[in-house]
Amino acid sequence: MAFAHRLTMKNDINTDYIISGRYKFKIQDPKELAKYIFVDLEPDFYKKVKPGDVLVAGENFGCGSSREQAPVALRASGLTAVLAKSFARIFYRNAFNVGLCLIECETNFVDDMDEIELDIENNLVKNISKGVNIEIKPVPKIMRKFLEKGGIIEYFKEHGGFDEIV
């Protein structure tokens, strides 16, 4: 069972908030880093997350710094996906590169601790708690290829480039 987690802050959640500069320099181990996600907003946030859960946000999630520690720490916390109305571009690439799925959709109808099921094949998110299906923007083919392999490095190692997906 996967549950949705929301922060009080909805829009423009930047990568400094996901993982503060104070910790990204100090801590190299992703599992350890994961304990500090959103530390400046909600310090105990990481304790709520169970493997397979998803994070839900509003507009422009992941704006700001290019730090890849942001999606790495989210993934290491157990989160498998982020649902948001929109994402910032550097974070968008970084997330799929490290195996974190991002889904663009209307998120107003997902509350904290709603039970969620992702159905990327059919472009749907099922909100089981509310009994509604939410249509999602299709995840681009190139990003799905990276996810299938667990990240861009594995994809690159296997294919030696990106000719197949262009």
Partner: protein, 420 residues
């Protein structure tokens, strides 16, 4: 041919006609990382199982974000960077050299028409000299480092025309803050922005860097300007590489055109905790400031220091004020010494720090105390950015910063306009 600058540069580097929305694989002219991202670049590169970087002249690492190291963890990252450089025979820029976004153009690594990747979000800075440069994460950078290429989604373009003439005491920082306040922190997400108009034409290249630097604060992939005489003169002074000035076609397709008139623009401030929370300096003139920081890839250039020196000359900072000044590069530091600016700063009571990112990233050199307010010339005022989530950051121009350092509250630099 109806192409924007981004479409042209991506076409040129991918060997096919690129239009907005296409995915292309492009050759990279130059790429780099900094100390916050290079550790992971090295890890990702090694995971790929490739022995040598694609070209030792087209990649560098710059130790600027937490430099010199404030703790053991950072020292380990710095050592890892130095070791990788030795292993791969790479030139790096160690502590005290300066901020990556000053080093890269100043050293002549990039020229107009280039396609550049940096593992730092403010890589968009060189758009001011007609370079399609954009920030990526460490693994994307490692892909470029391994293969000399990466994949790109060709962005749509917003055209911005900046009309009028800036009043005295109002600078490029005020212009870009005003624009971000207008269109919002996601106003240009995934777009290329092209800046035109008399306001840009009349600016120095240094002042233009400030505008392109903050394109990412509106969500943009890049913030491009055409190469004019000033651009070419600037590049010629710094680089021996062949220039490929790239202009948009007259009938290029833009998703949006925004026109501004900045004739009556006032000095602008971004209030805590978002860069788009912008107002005029007058609206916040009663805010008490504990720390002023002049520096960064946005506003740590010689021209910025010159402006600050004109206001600070022969004066003392307010009682209890912490004024921190960080030149963006060693060259700028030396030039500022020769021109007497550093003498003025130190005499006024400033702490002048070594070239680098300074307190911008909150890992050292000027962490705020609980409840303290800073006025910074940087590009971000996120909660916790300067090391303490209980501190507040206001952003403004070097002139506004210098004027504020003298009074201890947010102050209008136009009061000193006879000096400017």
């Amino acid at each position: 041919m109806r192409q924007t600058i981004a479409e042209k540069i991506l076409s040129e580097h991918s060997g096919r006609r690129a239009k907005a929305g296409d995915i292309v694989i492009s050759n990279i002219d130059f790429c780099f990382g900094q100390d916050g991202t290079s550790g992971m670049i090295i890890d990702s590169f090694k995971k790929m199982g490739i022995e040598k970087v694609f070209n030792t002249d087209r990649f560098t690492m710059i130790i600027d974000h937490s430099s010199p190291s404030p703790n053991i963890g950072v020292s380990a990252i710095h050592a890892k960077i130095r070791n990788f450089a030795k292993e791969q025979d790479l030139r790096i820029f160690d502590i005290g050299c300066g901020v990556c976004h000053q080093i890269v153009p100043e050293t002549g690594f990039v020229t107009c028409g280039d396609l550049v990747l940096g593992a730092d979000s403010h890589t968009c800075t060189y758009g001011a000299i007609n370079v399609l440069s954009t920030g990526v994460g460490s693994t994307d950078l490692a892909i470029a480092l391994a293969s000399g290429k990466n994949w790109f989604k060709v962005p749509e373009t917003i055209k911005m025309v900046l009309n009028g003439k800036l009043p005295k005491g109002v600078f490029s920082k005020d212009v870009v803050l005003k624009i971000i306040g207008d269109i919002g922190a996601d106003g240009a997400t995934y777009k290329s922005v092209e800046f035109y108009g008399p306001v840009i034409d009349s600016m120095s290249v240094e002042a233009r860097f400030t505008i392109s630097n903050m394109a990412v604060e509106m969500g943009a992939k890049c913030g491009l300007m055409k190469a004019d005489r000033k651009t070419m003169d600037w590049i010629k002074k710094h680089s021996s590489r062949e220039m490929k000035p790239t202009e948009a076609d007259e009938d290029a397709r833009y998703v949006k055109t925004l026109e501004y008139d900045f004739t009556d623009l006032e000095p602008q401030i971004a209030r805590p905790h978002t860069v788009d929370n912008v107002c005029s300096v007058e609206e916040v003139s009663d805010v008490k400031i504990d720390e002023v920081f002049i520096g960064t890839c946005t506003n740590g250039r010689l021209e910025d220091l010159e402006i600050a020196s004109k206001i600070l000359k022969g004066r003392k900072v307010a009682s209890g004020m912490k004024l921190l000044i960080t030149p963006a590069s060693r060259k700028i530091f030396l030039d500022a010494i020769k021109k007497g600016y550093i003498d003025i700063f130190v005499s006024a009571g400033a702490s002048v720090n070594n070239p680098g990112c300074g307190p911008c990233v909150g890992t050292h050199q000027g962490v705020l105390a609980d409840g303290e307010n800073a006025l910074s010339t940087a590009n971000r005022n996120f909660k916790g950015r300067m090391g303490n989530p209980n501190g507040n950051i206001y952003l403004g121009s070097p002139a506004t910063a210098a004027a504020t350092a003298l009074t201890g509250k947010i102050s209008d630099p136009r009061e000193y306009k006879r000096r400017l």
